[in-house]
């Protein structure tokens, strides 16, 4: 695997600043939305945390949420980005409303390209609201890939999708050994794009997701030239280690906004389990499509 970029002089160190207050703050932030450090603050003042006090984890969560939203909104499977490094951030915690985070981070292209070490830079304001499930996001990023190149690659991908002969039904992308056949790559990229919408909606201060595997694909014929397909993904949620099957329905045309509908399976409780061996990794049939 290529190094992701020019190596900085020293490897990144963890949050393990052996300051006793830092872990304590982390505890407070993560376990209860408590207003921050002692000081003269009114009951409604959102507590603002300084740079050094904001746990790295919270900034990472915000950056991830922002990036999922960015990818979804860009609607381009060729221009997908992943998080490279969180650079700085601030957070405000209001126990009644939620947690607001400003974060600056660098990104790189999702598609590994030879010789490219380009980093894009993004700044985002992410609001993890107590009442609403999905984080509200304002994000801007520097351009990582030329518009014309992106359009060309999107169009190429579009044509590849249109040329797929068989509806693929049950697949494993990547296969169990991590390999994605080049001919299946367009499907994967489009699935990742659609999954970004899902992962944006589901990311919180604590939960974050990765796309683990694509397990079924079905492409539908359309009479308006759009790409229309149903697929099942397995999302991996890191804090609980759960594998969450989601059925996603996506409609896409290069340059047009992406349309996504989805349904993810809830974690089984012992009462609901039906004696199948697979536990929480069994995808359910989607009822509303």
């Amino acid at each position: 695997m290529q190094p992701r970029r020019q190596p900085p002089p020293a490897p990144r160190s963890g949050p393990g600043n052996p300051r006793p207050t830092a872990p304590l703050l982390a505890l407070l932030l993560l376990l209860a939305p408590v207003v921050a450090p002692a000081g003269s603050r009114g009951a409604d003042d959102p507590g603002q945390l300084q740079d050094a006090e904001v746990p790295r984890r919270l900034l990472q969560q915000a950056a991830r949420a922002a990036l999922h939203f960015f990818n979804f909104r860009a609607g381009s499977p060729s221009a997908l980005r992943v998080l490279a490094e969180v650079q700085e951030g601030r957070a405000w915690i209001n126990p009644k409303e939620g947690c607001k985070v400003d974060v600056v981070f660098s990104t790189e292209r999702y598609k590994p390209e030879e010789g490219e070490g380009h980093l894009g830079k993004c700044s985002a304001r992410v609001f993890f609201k107590n009442q609403k499930p999905r984080p509200a996001i304002n994000v801007t990023c520097t351009r990582l890939i030329e518009k014309k190149k992106r359009q060309q690659e999107d169009y190429l991908l579009y044509k590849q999708m249109k040329q797929l002969k068989n509806p693929l039904e049950t697949v494993s992308i990547p296969d169990n050994h991590g390999h994605i056949d080049p001919s299946l790559r367009p499907i994967w990229d489009l699935a990742f794009l659609g999954s970004s919408y899902v992962m944006w909606e589901m990311t919180t201060q604590v939960s974050h997701y990765y796309l683990a595997q694509l397990t079924s694909v079905r492409q539908w014929k359309t009479n308006d030239d759009t790409i229309d397909f149903d697929y099942t993904v397995l999302l991996h949620e890191l804090s609980t280690q759960e594998i969450i099957p989601c059925r996603i329905h996506l409609v896409w045309y290069p340059g047009k906004p992406l349309k996504v509908k989805y349904h993810c399976q809830e974690l089984q409780t012992p009462e609901e389990a039906s004696g199948t061996e697979e536990g929480s990794a069994v995808p359910t049939e989607l009822s509303n499509f």
């Binding site: 490897p11 872990p23 982390a26 296969d175 536990g279 990794a281």
Partner: protein
């Protein structure tokens, strides 16, 4: 979960299967009677009508026998297959042609086919006979790994031995490799991989590491010094039932496969089943959860086996538990944010180890305590190890950071193992130089 093909009626034996069956019996015959079928062919004839069929039946009646029917003449629509000895080929083909019987050559040389089949049969029974042809840059099945272990131990019996420390829930052997240059009850280092079965990169790294140890012993001064004074134990497949399941049914299975009466979900998270903060935050009492801690500490045979072994041994000085993914090197505690008493030393050691790792391929790792670096987790291996007096207890999360996650491409096995080795070596060296 990979789907299995939908149900339907089972098809009857295909012509290929039937042929294979006949070939097997031929092999048997050949083995018993030392027969040789070189040059013999199998012809397939299509009789158009009853007249042609009876011509074929005439062939059957010839004495001495000139053909041997594998599929005898029955009805005009059905093909007739006959084995024709090399010596009779010319005559028989002339007979068929003169009577307008269309035929094709199904098998051009039976002996060649027999040899190929025999080789294939032997191959499918025989796993690799030596480790030099074992591919370290591929993922392997449980059977392949256990077979490799036997070969490995045989080839390096001067310093490696195999110990069975228990049985899994589904009664598979739990095996540990011991690397030792002798002595009795040397201070020891424990390494486990695969406690979570879907983390395939960890088993692969463990295997490469085992091979690295025997290769570098006598060549790498640091490793040689370590092995002269200490023993190394590696448990490659800490969760054999789960691992077998990731191959057969569910690539993303994490837990073991234990079943309890009245509980419909299967499996316990083996890294939540240890007796240290058992049942606390970061573990789950819901049996359907991926972090289900089980009914009680050490309830799982896979965990109990390790606890019993390490406790009975009594002289372990370091324990390293290897997971994926996230690219992190961490030390206790997972169960709380409370720092351990030697956290400064562990911080510095982790920093050195991560730097050594980085130098290999430029991969960056976070480091710190588990609770502050990854998440709060209770009942975990390294917390138990630390509470049991093992001061140098570390947990790795190997590559990557989510792009491929558990499905790390096999092309990354060796680079991952190479860099991880440098971190392991750093930790082991520190353990050697800081006896307690």
């Amino acid at each position: 979960m990979q789907g299995t093909p939908g149900g339907g009626t089972c098809p009857g034996p295909s012509p290929m299967d039937r042929r294979t069956l006949l070939v097997f019996s031929f092999i048997l015959a050949a083995a018993l009677g030392q027969m040789n079928f070189t040059g013999d062919q199998v012809l397939r004839v299509l009789a158009k009508d009853e007249k042609q069929l009876s011509l074929l039946r005439d062939l059957e009646g010839l004495k001495p026998q000139k053909v041997d029917f594998w599929r005898g003449p029955a009805r005009p629509s059905l093909p007739v297959d006959m084995r024709v000895p090399f010596s009779e080929l010319k005559d028989i083909k002339a007979y068929l042609e003169s009577h307008g019987l269309a035929y094709s050559i199904m098998i051009k040389d039976i002996q060649v086919l027999l040899d190929e089949e025999r080789e294939a049969m032997a191959k499918s029974r025989r796993l690799e006979r030596s480790t030099s042809s074992f591919s370290y840059s591929s993922y392997h099945t449980l059977e392949e790994i256990y077979s490799w272990i036997d070969n490995f131990v045989t080839e390096h019996s001067d310093i490696v031995s195999k110990i069975q420390i228990g049985n899994s829930f589904e009664n598979r052997s739990i095996l540990v490799l011991k690397f030792s240059t002798g002595g009795s009850q040397h201070p020891a280092i424990w390494i486990d991989t695969g406690i979570h079965s879907r983390e395939w990169i960890t088993h692969a790294t463990g295997i490469w590491t085992a091979n690295k140890i025997v290769s570098d012993y006598g060549k790498d001064r640091v490793l040689t010094d370590i092995l002269k004074a200490m023993d190394i134990f590696i448990e490659l497949v800490t969760n054999p039932d789960g691992f077998a399941f990731t191959h057969s049914m569910n690539r993303l299975w994490r837990k073991n496969k234990s079943i309890r009466p009245g509980i419909f979900c299967i499996g316990v998270d083996l890294n939540r089943n240890w007796k240290s903060g058992f049942g606390g935050n970061g573990s789950n009492s819901n049996p359907c959860s991926e972090t289900y801690h089980g009914p009680s500490p050490q309830s799982e045979p896979e965990v109990a086996a390790i606890v019993n072994f390490i406790t009975a041994h009594g002289n372990f000085k370091a324990l390293i538990s290897i997971h994926s993914y996230s690219q992190m090197l961490m030390y206790p505690y997972g169960r709380s944010l409370e720092p351990v008493s030697n956290h400064r030393e562990l911080y510095d050691l982790a920093k050195d180890a991560v730097e050594a790792l980085y130098k290999v391929h430029g991969i960056e790792y976070f480091f710190g305590s588990i609770s502050t670096t990854l998440y709060v987790a209770s009942g975990i291996t390294v917390d138990w190890a630390y509470d049991s007096g093992i001061k140098y207890a570390f947990s790795f999360e190997l590559r990557d950071t989510g792009r491929y996650g558990f499905l790390l491409p096999a092309t990354q096995i060796i680079p991952t193992a190479q860099e991880t080795w440098m971190a392991l070596r750093t930790i082991m060296e520190h353990t050697l130089n800081h006896p307690y």
